[in-house]
Amino acid sequence: MSNMTEVKIIFTGTMGAGKTTAINAISEIKTISTEAVATDETAQRKETTTVGMDYGEVTVDEGLVLRLYGTPGQRRFRHMWEILAKGALGFVILVDNARPSPLEDLSIYLDNFKNHIAASAAVIGVTRTDVSAQPDIDAYYQYLAEREEMHPVMTVDVRRREDVLMLLDSLLLSREFE
């Protein structure tokens, strides 16, 4: 029987927000993705989209492995979110700021994972602010305050490994100082 401890971090958010890219930036194995040709609204942005999940991992040391899971972005796969979320160390919520209603998008994930986040932590990464600067970070904090929640919100380019590490670090530190 293995003495390996496993912890998992969930990457969630709208389709095209960069979940697969973010996991790719961190994972030491080639990210395993279940993708299919996009046929719905997704097709305007991406040729393929994740319909199952993404998986990456980092071997921390001989006794610890960090598993990174990306949820499928489309809401019709939300039954899978609950399965993935159980026992997670925390949640990285990626929001595509260039979509029509980023704050409404965010609410979907905050609502859906509410109980899991309350028991762990979440960090919000806002992507594509170069395409759309609004809502700005203050608007995100205002929205969180209205929900009586407080999570780190940071603008990120998930193609940059240091940005993804920054998100993970704020998530880990949130757990450390709880």
């Binding site: 912890v7 980092v58 040391d61 960090l66 160390l89 904090y141 940071m154 603008t155 530190l173």
Partner: protein, 273 residues
């Protein structure tokens, strides 16, 4: 709407300037506008005629907010200036040692005739040296609209953050010095602000707990200078909270259980700052 009261001297200058401006720019300026004097100054400053520029300079000094005298040289450092009430409303700051620029705090921006990087390069060698502030000119909403078209807009948080981290020299600004303990009302946007791992750690610590300066250094492993610079930067950006009642610094919890796991992951990913 309250019309600013102009002195006789200011009105006399504006009368002399009015037709010079009309001749050069083809526009007969009104005396009645809310921001009339500021507008006269702007036209004068852009003039190719030395005489008109000189009149604009004189008028500008008459309508400017007087620069307060400071008791100690340090109070006129750029850090003290940015923390003062002088910059609560949109103002143009004119210095002898660095180029003039506009601070528009309500919209969290500065307006520059040069790049933001150039401003930082001008500020960097200044340190706590008095930048030689000579004028603080209030800017009307109408003039702000005009300025937007002619200047580069940069993040005021970027400027505040830079000055807080660079120029604190281990000394808390006067206002946060009076805070019994500190908290933050939001994380700084580390996606846009240059930072070290220690800043992320201090921010998360102060979002999860409240602490005195000693508590912050004890809880995060930051040095006093790092903590002071971070607190000043957060104060300037408006993110630092005053907290009443100081809890004694909690001894660091042993690295076991979840904390131990988190520590191992952070080390593995190169985050241990």
């Amino acid at each position: 709407m309250n019309q600013p009261i102009l002195s006789k001297e200011a009105i006399a200058l504006m009368l002399r300037m009015r037709f010079l401006i009309k001749n050069e720019f083809g526009e007969l300026l009104s005396f009645q506008a809310q921001d009339a004097a500021t507008k006269f100054c702007e036209y004068g400053a852009r003039s190719s005629q030395p005489a008109l520029r000189e009149l604009a300079q004189q008028l500008s000094s008459l309508i400017s907010v007087p620069v307060p005298k400071t008791a100690q040289p340090r109070e006129s450092s750029i850090l003290e200036l940015l923390a003062s009430d002088l910059v609560e409303q949109p103002v143009r700051l004119v210095f002898t040692r660095i180029p003039a620029f506009v601070i528009d705090k309500p919209r969290r921006r500065c307006l520059l005739n040069f790049s933001f990087e150039e401003l930082l390069e001008e500020l960097r060698p200044l340190g706590t040296v008095d930048p030689g502030l000579t004028q603080v000119e209030p800017i009307s909403p109408g003039d702000l609209v005009e300025l937007e078209k002619k200047t580069i807009s940069a993040s005021l948080h970027g400027l505040m953050w830079f000055c807080g981290l660079q120029f604190s020299q281990g000394q808390l600004l006067p206002k946060p010095q009076s805070f019994p303990a500190f908290g933050l009302n939001r994380w700084p946007d580390f996606g846009t602000l240059p930072h070290a791992a220690q800043h992320l750690k201090m921010a998360t610590f102060l979002m999860r707990k409240t602490a005195s300066l000693d508590g912050l250094t004890a809880g995060t492993g930051a040095t006093k200078n790092e903590a002071v610079a971070f607190l000043n930067a957060c104060f300037l950006c408006g993110w630092l909270k005053r907290v009443e009642g100081v809890a004694p610094p909690a001894p660091a919890a042993p690295k076991s259980g979840l904390r131990g796991v988190i520590g191992r992951i952070r080390v593995r990913l190169g985050m241990s700052g």
